[in-house]
Symmetry: D4
């Protein structure tokens, strides 16, 4: 059934974002086939939502070519250079359980050659944790905010920083958190002006949105002065 | 059809909260009948959700006996003494459009003889507005937080103050704010520990919850030192 | 990735509630790291949503330091003194399946040194079970009501007791109970005035809300006369 | 367009319930046409959801033939005899705002010749109001419970009476009451066994369900001893 | 924690329905404790939602005292006599996957001594299957309709039979069937007058509703003439 | 702002369906501008969701060129020939309140030159009304079923006719009918195989779906033999 | 309990679609019983939602008679001839993860003797993939579009092709994709006129809808000229 | 009650976006008070969701100072200079009914001194309309996509342009469009990578998100070469 698989390798040229493989809905065979193709064509690939089960089901050769990060469930297939450009993106996350999504943002940008700066476990319930770091965060051109539950961090950061704010609601929480729906709706309803939102747990999407911006701003835009 | 109306005048003795009349779902005739009864028995009454239309439909005599506040749509029927006890409750609200609900809290407590202190238009999108007042707010035994949209103010205040925190989500906002459902779910999902929540726009309910607490704490509990 | 973990040990001083660890969304490694830190600093910790799987994955040393209660899935890490203050909180629950949540309330308060009194399996379908105990329940300053399905117990208790009423809807039930959403909405819609509500299954949150109140009332406030 | 109208006059013979006209979604012309037809055939009709606007838009002749009750918005068209059978149905309602729906039940049964006994404004927030009447209510073969908001009355009555219990959730309430959805879900989730439920505000449907039962039980089944 | 368990053995006397044990949310220990108590008191018990896992976890002695039916997951504990009264209830179900729920209705009534008549796999997509049996079905005093997906069978049967109609929506279906929510809403929205509805998959509830009716009608009410 | 208006007059050639104007979200000025353009180009137009208010707001000249049908709120602008092709589409509707939507189907097809045959007020609550006509309905190549509430008619017709079945759920009903959402979900969940569904109240869409089919079948396909 | 199983073998004659067995909600025993019956009567059967677990649980004899396709989880039981009629149906799918549903459409039509033409992995995010094939797709009489997430492919194809368009939303996606609900709602809301929709993941239903059309059009209707 | 109003005039300095007044939830008196304050301080203001009713209720002096645009319901209060910077933002909208929201984006950016380029009525149902303009659209640094119903335009544009893509779902549509919820969910679920989304109908928010980006990119970034 591999005639169902048509990678869009021309995407980078068209919109500035490399093809990536979302492994979530794919069988081990489908992922293996795509890696074979990429290897044959000499393409590197970013793999997202790559579960340990799928990873372990791949051939030893493929596994050996994958740089895997388990918390974000991402893999780099093939040669991926370390970031060389300075960090213009801050990743700000609310709680420990948001770490996987925050790392997906970091890895998506890292795969594209961009360093990032992380500010984690700074949820508003202990506001001092954010306030201690806010001056640094304000110096970044792009600020990705990762938060679940009530996503209150989005509104607070959005009202304090001049950078482009991209919110990633996460599925962290239970009951009225409704698997991330509350964080999503809260981020969209924030009265901090000009906050843009991506899908629940969509660290990859936030990374790509950041990429679209980085492709249009100078390399030294609002670089952090300190940390 | 007035055999459908059975006021619970024994409530104050039973649970410490006076009977009030929710006018929202009642006809002008039903409200008029209840006022007649209360006048006959010498009872004062708190009237909530009293629309200008219903108010104007009442007899001139009844209208003359009502101290009406239009933004909260509340009325005091009969003799209601001014508050004599010191303010132990802070009412903190996020935006201009939350004023009606915040006033309903104030009026509910005022009707029961309790002064309150208001801190309004301090939503987190302009965090400095809250931070300038937070030391004072921290001195109150009970803090009622009134907020719509993403209700981020609830989590921020809940993480900063030691008092009892009662959140009133409001129906302010549009689209993903879903008529207050997002503020409600966000308030319930806040990771600030020990925040208690009442129904959307339910300023009366928040006032009553505060009353239950005030009935159990000393008159001078955590009185504000300044304002 | 443990730079993602920043416990808020200053919380007790700030708002009167000790830091606790929600283990639900954390890996065994993350929980272990936090216990190491706490042990190093000499802190005790309340652990919530601690599954048997996570517990068993911890080191034997850590397991030995944890007083675990399986129905509530809570653990006390380190030295926790038995409650010394008299019970000012009643915990009233509707059915057998609500026991785990009711115990989470009890354990949260017990960890903070407060005794509680339990009244269980008193759902309104057999109203005599509640009525036999209601006089005692009325004597408590704080009444936590734990109920799933239609949460009718909330409205009935709220109309009968003068104490502060905190409702914890539970995810007990099926079909139209919608995993606790119906109990939550019903508790919020109760016409008993002044009922405050926390998230679905959030026994910890109800305990913390009770703590905020206990911190403001005298130790002998409305102590139970009998049981 | 009156070829769209095909009354089911054979229904009474088929299932024991007379045809009725739901006026809610119909134009004045359509209602008028149906009355003309009924008059021509010598049929009486029960009209439900008949708004004052539609009523006033009908011809004076038609208006003269309608016995209209405004709170329930029901009309009897043509000759309708007064009930002659003893009351075997109790109608129990929670609050003043439920009166219209409760009256729709009463009128539906009255149109079919059955007396009913009403017990109104007995919501559980003031439980004494129900308890004073419960012995009488227990003597009826069928008990229709009309309640909005959290519909807690349904579970309480369902656990106390041996009669057939039919719950009518109403759209009374705001916010989390969600236009009757919460009352509906709560009634369905009640743990009182054997409670049957009809649609929100569907007093007519509850009356018809009662009719199906009355058609199968003796005229003197569980008649009320007192009131 | 068995102080959380308080069976309501007085229920039969109060409302005419014996106590039953819903095993769904209970641990094996809790179920075992309740069986011990029942055995000690000489009570028989109806067990519902009894999974094979829980059954197998019970002691051999308890297992030996249970008459288990796996499709409905019901058990009779102790001596339960075979039905002696004639069948006054028809159980009509739409598809094969509804069989478990239909059997739960049958077992609930059988436990109480009532025979039933089953008409299965008669969904409206093959209307002839219903039409061949409808004359017989019309002869029953009570008709329980069990259907998932669009629950169209409810409206069709409700329009054809004069008996009391109780609908049990089931969770059969996928996608827009939404786990039974669509069947539930469709049953409530049926325009066949006087259909009463219980919770999704609630065969036990439908059986109890039927019991409340059977307790009020003669033993020979509308007995089936044929089958 | 009329640069916002770009009619797609090439549509008929591209997909076989003429451009139509949905007037629902447009101002009177916008509709007037589009009519001017159409008149200038000599195009006829089908106008849908044309409210009386918008119609009356148009110029007298425009009004004179519109053949308006009020129940469906449709207008033919310009010269529209009467249908000449035989009826290959049956329109089957459940209740009186569905008439407007059923007429929108009829008008959409009539505008395109196709006759239709209507079978109205045949909802399943009175199944005889459908059964009397079903042999005729079975003879049509396309059967459009228009139904609100539980949309049970869709499943019944879908199981009986060999023609292409297109379901139009309508917003008829209240409470659990949820403005047509229940009818929509029920139609999608029907177990009659091969039923295709369009949006709530979307008579125009059903007409267009029928058009796509009529464009591919012979003019005499399954013509009705009788009526 | 096999009296619950009544296959509708007369369906093909009645509506032109053979009986099929949905194995999703059935036990292995029930499926086995139905295969025994079909074998005894000499019927072939289409089996849908046949999981590997159920397949492996069947007897070796039955397994040997089943032509199983794992991605679509369909089986042909008994003799099924290869398609002989030319392909009049195009199956267009958006992404790799939609392949299983697309194959269910193909298998449903193949079982009935119809060839199909597949156009896969042509989602609109890489529009060139669709545009390269659109001229061929336009030549088919029926176009089935299979898409998850935002289902944007439905609107794009619907605006480009003159054939009958049947949309199958799939449960592909996460977060705001809500298990296919967003794709379903988007397909229903598409402004391309005349798109008909089936349930989420319902490849079988789309195949049946196509069958109803194929039964009414000539064998050579709009055959593809190229591919 | 004007102590509830605290404009955040320091916002521009803090985050680069001027204070604006959302008039939607405010009384005429509140808006008038804010205009008085702004006039006194010499501030200009952007007014959003300013209904004609509120506008007409203002004093003649205030009305004279407002440059009002009715379709977007926006007003410029005080001196606002015409844009001087070249257009770096494209506004792409799907249908006529989206014009008001598209204009709100344009006005928000215009108020801040930025020109924009509009591409309207280019929904995907007539894909040629978009394709004719796509080369020009691709040259902009920021592309705001405004679309209701299925919001398919978002995914198509997102896959074609390299600029930053901000989607504004609108409440255009009916039935399954659910007041913009479907467009919102579809935009969030788009598989075009890196699309960022704002709240339903939130043209102001999209404008502000664009502003945050424009503040970080060169004035000549990807200027359009033609139009």
């Amino acid at each position: 059934m591999n005639d169902h698989l048509t990678p869009d390798y021309g995407r980078a040229e068209r919109i500035g974002i490399e093809e990536a493989i979302f492994c979530g809905g794919k069988t081990i065979e489908q992922v293996g086939f795509l890696l074979d193709e990429a290897a044959r064509l000499g393409h590197a690939l970013l793999l997202t939502r790559l579960s340990p089960e799928t990873l372990n089901g791949l051939s030893a050769a493929h596994r050996g070519d994958i740089d895997y990060e388990p918390l974000s469930r991402t893999g780099f297939f093939g040669e991926v250079a370390a970031p060389t450009k300075p960090a213009r993106v801050a990743i700000v996350s609310a709680g420990t359980s948001d770490a996987g999504v925050a790392l997906e943002v970091e890895r998506t940008l890292g795969y594209a050659g961009h360093a990032t700066a992380g500010f984690h476990d700074v949820g508003v319930a202990g506001l001092w944790r954010l306030m201690e770091r806010i001056q640094t965060i304000k110096s970044f051109a792009v600020v990705v905010v990762v938060a679940g539950m009530d996503a209150a961090l989005v509104g607070v950061v959005g009202g304090l920083v001049p950078g482009v704010v991209i919110a990633v609601p996460t599925s962290v929480g239970y009951g009225a958190a409704r698997g991330g729906e509350t964080a999503l709706a809260a981020a969209l309803s924030s009265c901090a002006p000009g906050v843009a939102v991506v899908n629940i747990d969509n660290g990859y999407g936030a990374g790509c949105a950041a990429l679209r911006i980085l492709n249009h701003i100078p390399d030294d835009a609002r670089a952090p002065k300190e940390r």
